[in-house]
């Protein structure tokens, strides 16, 4: 029973981790908590279902949907955040703006697709594997592997490529990076593009797992993913994964010991405790800038 709940919690945590990576990515580069991430996540699944509706086939529809969601990230930056940066507005304005954007996206999705819950096609034939007497589905394993791969690619991109170097430079000092010949606006837009793509990948996997999508799907899970990102040390990519897993497993254990009505508050209780005890999160180091 406990083992089964831990496995359930792990797969739940993987979903949080996938989304948390996007929060961490944008925060790591821009020092901005992008609260529109949950809505962008919902947009990703809807974009894919839209292309599937036009008979693009599953794989091309996913690719197009993911790219379109990346483009949405760039659009958000261009339309709403770039003007704020140009006017040198304080960071809090950008943060509030992203909250506003999340509502705009959510409501546009409702207007376009309706608010009802819609079925999402099954991505893989889901089989149950038994490990030590507990059930784990192939989809859960695929989610785990995908988020580790996504993490590896993103880490490589930031640590090992020229554009990653530029991203880190922008993170350290945007003005000086510009003086060194880095096109900072492009780099920031690119970061949002990556954020959008990671959100879309997460939403395709998670919608495919639960076979369900709706415009507000990113709200609750987005909040928990944010808690996961903060728990792991926001801005630290592998921290987001660990944070997601910790929250998922604690939800599983909370559901077992206290009943599932208490499961959802656990994520936020953990968030508060972490913020009190270790404000920088599990892997974040105080004072040292990190990517």
């Amino acid at each position: 029973m406990i083992l089964q709940q831990i496995f359930n919690g792990l797969s739940l945590g993987m979903a949080y981790a996938l989304i948390a990576v996007g929060y961490s990515l944008v925060f790591g580069i821009l020092r901005l908590v992008n609260f529109s991430h949950g809505a962008v996540y919902a947009f990703g699944a809807h974009a894919v279902i839209f292309f599937i509706g036009y008979h693009f086939g599953l794989i091309p529809a996913i690719l197009l949907g993911v790219l379109l969601t990346g483009a949405l990230g760039v659009l958000i930056d261009r339309v709403a955040l770039y003007p704020l940066r140009k006017k040198k507005s304080p960071g809090i304005s950008s943060l509030i703006t992203t909250i506003g954007i999340s509502y705009i996206i959510q409501n546009l999705l409702m207007m376009g697709f309706g608010s009802e819950k819609k079925p999402f096609p099954k991505l893989f034939d889901n089989r149950i594997v038994h490990i030590l007497g507990a059930r784990i589905s192939t989809m859960q394993i695929i989610m785990f592997v995908t988020s580790v791969i996504l993490l590896a690619i993103l880490t490589f991109l930031i640590k090992g490529t020229k554009i990653g170097l530029a991203m880190r430079a922008v993170e350290q000092n945007e003005k000086n990076a510009g003086l060194m010949g880095i096109n900072t606006n492009f780099i920031i837009a690119f970061t949002f593009f990556l954020g959008g793509i990671s959100a879309a990948i997460a939403s395709v996997l998670i919608s495919g797992y639960y076979e369900i999508l709706y415009p507000t799907m990113g709200f609750m899970v987005g909040l928990k993913a944010f808690a996961a990102a903060v728990l792991g040390g926001i801005g630290v990519l592998h921290g987001a994964i660990v944070g997601g897993l910790v929250i998922g497993v604690s939800e599983g254990l909370a559901a077992t010991w206290f009943g599932s009505q208490y499961r959802d508050s656990v994520a936020f209780i953990i968030l508060i405790i972490v913020l009190i005890v270790r404000p920088a999160g599990l892997f974040g180091r105080k004072g040292i800038e990190k990517v």
């Binding site: 359930n8 979903a15 589905s137 559901a255 599932s260």
Partner: protein
């Protein structure tokens, strides 16, 4: 300058307040259309319901208008969007009661929201009929507050019958959504099981809507040995729940409430919702002429079949207009008494409000079979 400005502002405020007085004292002119307010979520999470109820209400109004309206006047619906939020509903209720042309309200969607708005209607003697609220305390808020939906406890009696007599199962689990309504209904279900010596409540779990993973609750139910699970929630709970439960235990019997009856249940649940049983007060594939007529008009506009709740919205407008007709005037007090005394034959069966304003409903049992809703006559008949 500042002084002048503040005096000016105060004047503006006072004038606008006085203006407010005069408009609320406005009397019904007596020859314009009779207005009925429709207050549901038209945007936000539950917009699908609001839109479908508005359409159902409009179909009924169109029918009456085609036959010359009521008391020689046309009928008009006034649409409000309460976003399924208590705060919005409170201010909408104020707007509605300050418009003397409005004789009654169809709404609001969730029990919690309806109960926020109800005292305002009661105080101003405006009839409120909710086609969805099933919280036991809703209709006892006042004389003018009516419910054209099943009271949840009567629905559980049918479910009890299904479990004990039709299915002969004993170990029951409950999964309820964590809202005011879900918690209350879940507790009533638990009481029902505890009071029945033939049944055993093995586990009762609450889940938050919007977190689509129910595996944690399912693992507990399964561990406790549940043979049958009562899902206290809309189609959006029961479809994913059934899907996730059947992945771990294909033999589980899932039982829903009447509000699970929606086309989306089958679209969303696919094979996993096969065999789900629930009681309903309205069945869209019925042979009755009135039902067919409504379903055709509804499908034409909406594209999918009406739910039981939409049918109740249609009947609620019908019973209100019938009461106006029989009453012969729009006097608030006599209209209320007439509404409480008539028996109305609608598409959800015979509707009559009792003293506290609850409608008694007759139930049909439905089961999902081969991707369709069909009548359920017990295990032996299947």
């Amino acid at each position: 300058m500042r002084k002048i400005l503040s005096v000016l502002l105060i004047t503006v405020v006072i004038v606008s307040l006085l203006g407010g007085c005069s408009s609320s004292n406005k009397k019904d002119s007596g020859n314009g259309p009779i207005k009925i307010a429709v207050a549901f979520p038209m945007t936000g999470d539950n917009a699908e319901y609001g839109k479908s109820f508005l359409l159902a209400a409009q179909i009924k109004v169109d029918e009456w208008n085609a036959n010359g309206g009521v008391l020689g006047r046309n009928i008009e619906l006034v649409n409000y969007d309460d976003k399924n939020s208590g705060e919005e509903a409170a201010s909408i209720a104020q707007k509605i009661v300050s418009n003397p042309e409005i004789i009654g309200v169809l709404g609001h969607f969730s029990s919690g929201v309806s109960m926020v708005a109800a005292p305002t209607y009661e105080e101003n003697k405006v009839i409120e009929i909710s086609n969805t609220a099933s919280h036991p305390d809703y209709s006892s808020i006042g004389k003018y507050i009516f419910r054209n939906n099943s009271v949840i406890s009567s629905e559980f009696k049918v479910i009890e019958d299904i479990i004990t007599n039709d299915l002969s199962l004993t170990k029951v689990g409950i999964v309820a959504i964590k809202t005011d309504w879900g918690t209350t209904a879940g507790a009533i279900a638990a009481d029902m099981i505890k009071n029945n010596p033939g049944l055993e409540l093995v586990a009762q779990e609450e889940v938050l809507e919007g977190s689509d993973d129910y595996s944690l609750a399912i693992a507990k139910l399964q561990e406790a040995g549940a043979e049958v699970v009562i899902s206290v929630g809309m189609y959006s709970l029961i479809a994913p729940l059934a899907k996730q439960y059947k992945a771990v235990d294909p033999d589980i019997q899932v039982i829903g409430l009447s509000n699970a009856y929606a086309q989306q249940l089958i679209e969303l649940g696919g094979e996993a919702v096969e065999g789900i049983i629930f009681p309903v007060s309205f069945y869209a594939d019925s042979d009755e002429e009135a039902v067919k007529q409504f379903v055709t008009a509804y499908v034409e506009e909406f594209g999918s079949e009406p739910s039981a709740l939409a049918a109740q919205a249609y009947d609620s407008i019908g019973i209100l207009l019938e009461a106006v007709k029989q009453n012969g005037s729009l006097d608030k007090e006599t209209l209320r008494d007439t509404l409480n005394s008539i028996t109305y034959q609608g598409i959800t069966g015979e509707t009559k409000f009792d003293e506290i304003g609850d409608a008694t409903k007759e139930y049909t049992k439905l089961i999902v079979k081969d991707g369709k809703f069909v009548r359920y006559n017990g295990k032996a008949a299947q």
